[in-house]
Amino acid sequence: MSLSTDPLETFREEAKELLVTLEESLMALEEEPQDHELIDTAFRALHTIKGSGNMFDLDRLVAFAHTVETVFAALRDGSLELDRRLTDLSLTAKDHLADLLALGDGSDPEIEQRDRELSSRFTAYLPEGGAASAESGGSAEADVGEATAHDGPGAGVADDELKDEAKDSTYRVILKPSLETFRIGGNPLLLISELQELGQTLVMGFVADVPPLSEIDPEGCYLHWDILVTTAAGEDAVRDVFLFVDGEIDIRVVDEGGFFDTDINYKRLGEILVDRGEIKPEDLEHAIGSKDYLGDVLIRSGYVTQEQVQSALSEQNYVRKMRETRRQTESSSTIKVQTEKLDELVNLVGEFVSLHANIAMLAEQKGDQDVRSAAEQMEGLIRQVRDLSIDLHMVPVDLLFSGFRRLVRDLCADLGKDVHLELEGTETELDKNVVDALKDPLLHLIRNSIDHGIETPEERSAAGKERAGRLKLSAYYAGAHVVIEIDDDGAGLNAERIRAKAVDRGLISAELELSESEIQGLIFEPGFSTAENATNVSGRGVGMDVVKRNIENLGGSIRVRSQQGVGTNMKIRIPLTLAIVEGLLARIGDGMYLINLAYIVECLELADVVDDSGDQIIDFRGEIVPYLDLRRFFRLEASENGGGQVVVVAIDDRKVGLVVDGILDKYQSVIKSLGKVYERAQGVSGAIILGDGRPALMLDVDRLARVTREELR
């Protein structure tokens, strides 16, 4: 055989020889159709043509060789018998293979036509049109398209690179090579070295299982490793490194890149050990009771080794460092400013805004045109400064949300629940003070949801739900407000039980008819607690009424919607910023009141829209809207020219009218807290000082709207 330097040419030569071998065995099989060795030789010739042809992308040749090979595999394992007709057909196939070989990747309609005919004739020999395998060992893909796919190691790397967002994640690899590793040419150090090419690593090797010399199998491998690798290459790339490992291998993500984690602290020691399967949760619980350092207790009790504790601590430290580094890189384009300074700036701007309102009012009173136009120009600038300073004070709500990941994880562990936390709209920005003030209420609501809302995995299974519960925190803008929703797919509120309890506690009379949503709203009443046996998680001290009050103190509101067996939704609306409120200044009696502009739909003359029936309702563009006479509400003396204006406000699309004596102007102001004196004042939520030094009260629109609807009933 002449050897060419071109492998393809060599293959052609080789394949010709193989075809000769095939022909010879076929001729011999005519005489002895049962000769197993001859069938085997023919099979092998076809197999080699297929296998090598594959390397040269000779798809048609490979496909046809595969079809014929499949029939010979059936002959070989006895599921098919060779007869004269098949021998003839096979000889034709041999000639056709020679043609295909000569054709290469060229084209010839005649050969292609013959290819189809012959293929279908061979396929007819096979059960189910050729689904059987060419290999005796099982069902290989009969589809040649699959056989030509490049599925060696490293396949799919290109895909990973495409979808890769280049976010560093940290993976924990537990590598326990088999005892045989060294003997079969394996070298764990190569794996470590390959892993290092992917990114930063922390390699923790264990020698504790290495026996004393007199007991060791000197060629056995007793070492094992925990390795942390931080890479942007993706999990598949990490798995690829360990493709050929003989032994146990466990790879999992321990720190997902890409989200801004406020909680720089990683899992606790016990958690890491449980996570790695080195200690049982119940043993951990047992050890946690002790006052001593957990690591020591665990080692002393023989649950884990010194090495394992050391390794878990190293992991803890490593991930913390990674997170620190990540945060530093993320914040490199920013400068840090102390929050107090920002607070002060916002406050000063607020004062500035008030002062300007004062000047504008004076200019108006004095009728000085020049001062008035100067004040107007100033207003534009002040607005910009105000917006900017508020903007500086905004932080993404993620700062709040992602901190809850840990809480959810811990609660699940403590309560035996399985909850998947979803975060949505984490980029929504809120005043930092609002974010801080929201932390406790949200904490309480999340606790409630996991403790009382979401069922145990067993209960969920029994109810036909996924074992893992879902808890979703989402944030989005709604005008000058941000809405935060806490949504779970737990057991929901039990209206009957709530009602019974409310009656029991004297919150409502037994006869009172309430809608489902009104009953659910009762959970926010002071003195109400749904928990039949309060756990140490939700606690007994803080009720939902406190949550509600905290949110209302922020100028916000909270609503609950729940369906028994399906889940609960808590919807919190809060103003974007606490510092400055834009409102409409209204007069009621002798007093001045500010109505938050965010709630106002329209202002109308009461006389134009009032319904004559005597009910407290107005006709607002065909819509029946209840109204509340604020003069009466605040028990003020009636003045002759009072009650002329109605301010239509809307909360959650439900409108009510608030009747005031007159509307003066739009007004921006810094809100001051009311202090002790006003704490129990219904219907007001704060106070401002007007430009001329007089005080004005901020109306608590949310509460007033509720009172209005209640009165109507």
Binding site: M1, L3, P7, L8, T10, F11, E13, E14, A15, R44, H47, T48, K50, G51, S52, N54, M55, F56, D57, S133, E135, G137, G138, S139, A140, E141, E146, A147, T148, H150, D151, G152, P153, G154, A155, E180, F182, R183, I184, G185, G186, N187, L189, L190, I192, S193, E194, E219, V241, L243, F244, D246
Partner: protein, 124 residues
């Protein structure tokens, strides 16, 4: 000195092609057409053995078993080539002591990467 790799395959064209790839990767190459010839060529200088599964006479798995039970350099990394894509043959090779395995046809990069994966040296 560059590492020597022993290619065992009954197909001349496959040997030639594999050899070209390995030489381009800077390796020295020895070739054998079957298991028996491979054992004759086998020495301490061989850093990796690449063997086809399906060969007349001694097949790839038998060759691996023979090397693993031998006296010299029995822990040499062995890369097994299979045309079959089912697990059965790979597992057979794995049980016999193959260090790695790839499926034909493979790409040049895949072969070189795999060789590197199993033959590299971590210096002391």
């Amino acid at each position: 000195m560059s590492d020597t790799i022993l290619i065992v395959d009954d197909s001349v064209s496959m040997r030639q092609m594999t050899s070209m790839i390995l030489k381009s990767g800077g390796y020295e190459v020895l070739e054998a057409a079957g298991g028996d010839e491979a054992l004759k060529q086998f020495s301490n200088d061989v850093k990796v053995v690449i063997t086809d599964y399906n060969m007349p006479g001694m097949n790839g798995v038998e060759l691996i078993r023979t090397i693993r039970s031998g006296a010299t350099n029995k822990s040499v990394p062995i890369l097994m080539l299979t045309t079959e894509s089912e697990e059965a043959k790979k597992n057979e090779g794995r049980d016999a002591g193959a260090t790695a395995w790839i499926t034909k046809p493979f790409e040049k990069e895949t072969l070189l990467k795999t060789i590197k994966k199993i033959s590299g040296e971590v210096s002391f």
